[in-house]
Point group: C2
Chain length 245, copies 2
Amino acid sequence: MTNLLNDMEHDFQAVPAPVEVHVAMLVFPGFTLLDLVGPQTTLSFHTTVHLVAKTLEPVASDSGIKLVPTCTFADCPQNVDVLFVPGGFGTADAMEDEETIAFLRDRGARARFVTSVCTGSLIQAAAGLLEGYEATTYWAHLDILRVLGAKPIAKRVVMDRGRISGGGVTAGIDFGLSLLAELRGDLTARTMQLLMEYDPAPPFDCGNPEDAGPEVAAQAKAALGDAVDLARAAAYRIRAKAIAD
Amino acid sequence: MTNLLNDMEHDFQAVPAPVEVHVAMLVFPGFTLLDLVGPQTTLSFHTTVHLVAKTLEPVASDSGIKLVPTCTFADCPQNVDVLFVPGGFGTADAMEDEETIAFLRDRGARARFVTSVCTGSLIQAAAGLLEGYEATTYWAHLDILRVLGAKPIAKRVVMDRGRISGGGVTAGIDFGLSLLAELRGDLTARTMQLLMEYDPAPPFDCGNPEDAGPEVAAQAKAALGDAVDLARAAAYRIRAKAIAD
């Protein structure tokens, strides 16, 4: 997919990219749309983003909205600069999906940056891409990273030797601007922050479990349902299989 | 579209909505994906979101990513609780699209909340929905609101008698949580803020033109190309036509 609307009347891309940077973003059933759209927006003027899925059929996110992929696992460029995986309620299934894991292993082996937001890091860890690396994930899933050989760090954005992970959902914006600074320098990232008018003013102070307090945290855990348990169970099965092999 | 993945194996909706709330979100060629996905995410557990377009064909956002609408202008429920319009590089064209404006006028006349993010407020103002109301929009377009009869306010989220508008792009998250608090109360909005891990940590202090400084602001204006001029020209044509009629 080319940047912006090349097929529309006006050319919106006023800041051309000096060297083409290819980003492969995994799209899987039950991914969280905002996990992907935050980083994709930060990168949209400055990279070529491929939305990669098994087929070109629209893929339903975990809120039901369907995105149209731009290439299949088979058609995705063999060498990408950035491999990105979002999280979502579909994480546990993706962690044990052989075709998905094989794709991530292959492109991740050669990508300059192996990146994720939210529980996307669990899927990458399931593919063996975070063994021995510091990484973060959604607040409710942090301990599961350890089961898969990564070192969990409770930070908004974690960078460790080409591995860059963001926390949950909205952390994708902070992550994406940080990644853009790595790819294109600070001036470009600062400009994109202004273009996205990223001057946050949260209406409440509830963005992490500590600030949110026990009542809100309990409500949030109830809303997550069995998502955390499913991901943990998948992690233990993957670990057990790796030890047996 | 139902909330979350009703057709998937697990029921993720642990917090049932006490009364169904219908939200119609306009999808038009060249909309900004994050303008829509921020608010849609905040509302996803607690409302029924309709992605409304002229046809059910996938609609390309201004970064090229295609979303699949869930209903057409004709099929959209006649009465919706919330009417929402995102902005984007396609704003000027949408402002003068008769079919789009007719749809907004009709549903906006009966909606409890007439809402927007980014330059979506210009499209609503073009439909006459903001005449005499305070509203905000993307930082580069603020003065254009006045041409269309609204009172521009440089704030992250502006509420005025059932009209709620958010600033540019990422302001949709602040806007969406504020709207959710109106619809479902503070506890629900606080819980959603934690579920979205909305604990922002911008890597730079560049989210508005003043903080960003002249160099970054000049870069951002260059990246916007003729988008502001096109929207302003459309606004003057619409105003002239309204005076002539």
